[in-house]
Symmetry: C2
Subunit: 204 residues, 2 copies
DNA sequence: TAAAATCCGTTGTAATTACAACGAAAATAG
DNA sequence: CTATTTTCGTTGTAATTACAACGGATTTTA
């Protein structure tokens, strides 16, 4: 992906190519397996994955590394840490040879339109994260599922709605086992609370 | 709380009183029980609680209202919705007679220093929320607890550290039952994985 | 200081869930 | 079209957790 293609597609720039000047952007190439960012680092730059991809890695309770997310082409990363000024709690490692564009957080801030875009992006993400926490905080899986589905229905605005996850994806989102999720969905269907087919749901 | 006292203490203003001019701020008083904001509303203003307090209310799976948070004196609210431009998913209701200062989001955005402060606040919150999701996503309560405690230790930077919650607070944060949390903590202590006394913990 | 309220660990029980394994259905690849 | 892979619901079991109840300890209030 070219720099200008990225800028065109990135919600941070909103397609405005002229905002790119004066950002002190630097491009850097990482070989497969290379450490792009390490947990504990302070990072003052926002990363943009131009080419290739990387994994976000966190230590689990045993101290073993677990991949918690993947950064694909065209995606930004480390933005929250860069703007918050707190050390990274995760590491980022190239899952293949990749090209990263680094954008200096301070310089982004200096351009009002970019700052406004960034603010909106963060605010949106905040709302999403808070919503997910709301679902995850429920005590039982059934409550988690219903909390999520009602939220999805509200977002869709229609009685019948589709969810953007397959079963495994929904299970990951809700922090549960896939088969347990399937079982709960079936139970709700049998109880007559819910109807669904594939990713299309309807709450009765 | 006076307006200027709020501005002095608010991280949004960073103590800079001069930033307050031109914000089209309005003050409004609500009687106890009055609806300050309703779920579904679009809100273009950030609320600041000058006097009194309010509850954040969400509908649970049965459609019954549940208080999910409290807004105390000096706290801001609705900021994420205002900047994101998405409808509220919660309602806000005065728990007592209260005075709210409304700050127009667009006007805040127009002052670069305020925008920068807001960005930092959102970025920080983003990191916190993501971290909490990390804990909540664990499958078992033991894993949730350890995930949280390791994170707390990392933040504290010392082997023995204190957590800013009582047991009920920690249970709420981790989305579990208080007695179940106590039981898991005791089990971990007996296993020799953990030592604690009140809010002081040490991972062995 | 005494009384009241809150905090916290324990116990027992019923319900829930993780986990592994399996097979049918659907999607994808060849 | 057939073979392969992926997705998803089901089942059974062991482990975990919610929930209610209780009592001791600590803290707060009067």
């Amino acid at each position: 992906m070219e720099i200008f293609e990225f800028i065109k597609k990135s919600p941070l720039f909103g397609g405005a190519e002229d905002l790119y000047v004066g950002l002190h952007a630097k491009q850097e190439v990482f070989e497969k397996g290379a450490r792009i960012l390490a947990a504990g680092d302070f990072c003052r730059r926002v990363g943009a994955m131009l080419e290739g991809g990387a994994d976000v890695i966190r230590e689990d309770a045993n101290g073993d590394p677990v991949t918690v997310a993947h950064i694909g082409e065209g995606e930004m990363f480390a933005e929250a840490f860069a703007f918050a000024g707190v050390p990274l709690s995760v590491s980022v490692q190239a899952s293949q040879r990749c090209a990263v564009l680094w954008l200096d957080a301070q310089s982004l801030l200096a351009e009002p339109r970019l700052a406004a875009n960034a603010l909106k992006i963060f605010a949106r993400k905040n709302v999403f994260l808070t919503e997910r926490i709301e679902h995850l905080s429920r005590r039982t899986l059934e409550a988690k599922v219903l909390s999520y589905l009602k939220s999805a229905r509200r977002t869709a605005g229609t009685e019948t709605f589709r969810v953007p996850f397959d079963r495994q994806g929904l299970a990951d989102y809700l922090g549960c086992d896939r088969s347990a999720l399937s079982a709960v969905l079936s139970k709700l269907k049998k109880k007559g609370v819910l109807d669904f087919h594939k990713n299309a749901f309807r709450i009765l």
